[in-house]
Symmetry: C2
Subunit: 175 residues, 2 copies
């Protein structure tokens, strides 16, 4: 998600889409059996850019060059907002997904990895959200159904890229 | 490592350094308490490029702009070969590190994640190798002290980026 996120000063911004997020995160999603990977930005030109990159690998020259990459990028759907992504799931599966937000900071009440892993084994759909830039606004985090516990390594340092964090969280939840 | 790796046709190549590998993998290394992150390429111009990027974030404008990024990129050492990296550890710690190679394919005999996790809790040093492009040559993999078991998700699809694979493996071994 590229909105509503904050920059290093805490100001609300719409962040730019990063090309390697598209590739790395769709490949991780495919590896761990995720149904859809939504890229959310309200900016029309950014949506067009993502569409261009994605269709190169799913329908263009890239699809033939690298069929494995195609399978991953076929999971991608471009949406303007969280609501649009949730509606897409509702239309397909007839259920309103629960919203689980990730953050590198602690927000209460927290959903542990262990509990979320158990929830995923039962019925129901979930939208797991990753914020770009310096992360989601506090208001947005507070409004989600669940706040996943932050990743911790084994040091005080906790500044992974969104690509690395998403890969590790999918592995912890679904491997 | 950018040599000796193969391209999609199995030909031995020296791959180009990817800017985001430098950032994502050093941040993951810092998060999980890794001592050093060696970027290995025999090409002088690629070594210079990595040096330029790294010093921007460790000594240049970037160091002041983003001190957390600086701490991660300070782990980086640029070397021409695996031997040079191993020598660097020997000079610092007085021990020859064991070489543990990763691959997305199965090579016997295999070291399981569980066993490697136990080995890391005992004394001794390890160099954990990640190959870029389509991975290491079979000869190189065969010559290592240990071959780590490949990552598996929960599907037949197994095509993570080297950045994602490194993040997940560090999490499994060191979290």
């Amino acid at each position: 998600m590229h909105y509503p996120v904050v920059n290093r000063n805490g100001t609300i911004i719409t962040s730019a889409v990063t090309n390697l997020d598209i590739h790395d995160m769709s490949r991780a999603a495919k590896t761990y059996g995720v149904n859809s990977f939504y890229i959310v930005t309200p900016l029309a030109d950014q949506q067009q850019l993502v569409g261009k990159i994605t269709s190169h690998w799913t329908k263009g020259v890239g699809a033939e060059y690298n069929p494995l990459r195609r399978k991953a990028l076929e999971l991608i759907k471009i949406k303007s907002s969280l609501n649009e992504a949730a509606e897409d799931i509702y239309k397909k599966d007839g259920l309103a997904p629960k919203i689980v937000v990730t953050s590198s900071k602690n927000f209460e009440p927290q959903l542990s990895m262990d509990n979320f892993r158990k929830m995923l084994q039962n019925s129901g759909g979930y939208l797991l959200l990753f914020g770009t830039a310096w992360g989601f606004t506090e208001e947005f985090i507070g409004a989600a159904d669940y706040r996943l516990e932050p990743l911790k390594g084994c040091t005080g340092y906790n500044h992974l890229s969104v690509r690395s964090a998403a890969a590790i969280i999918l592995d912890r939840l679904l491997s």
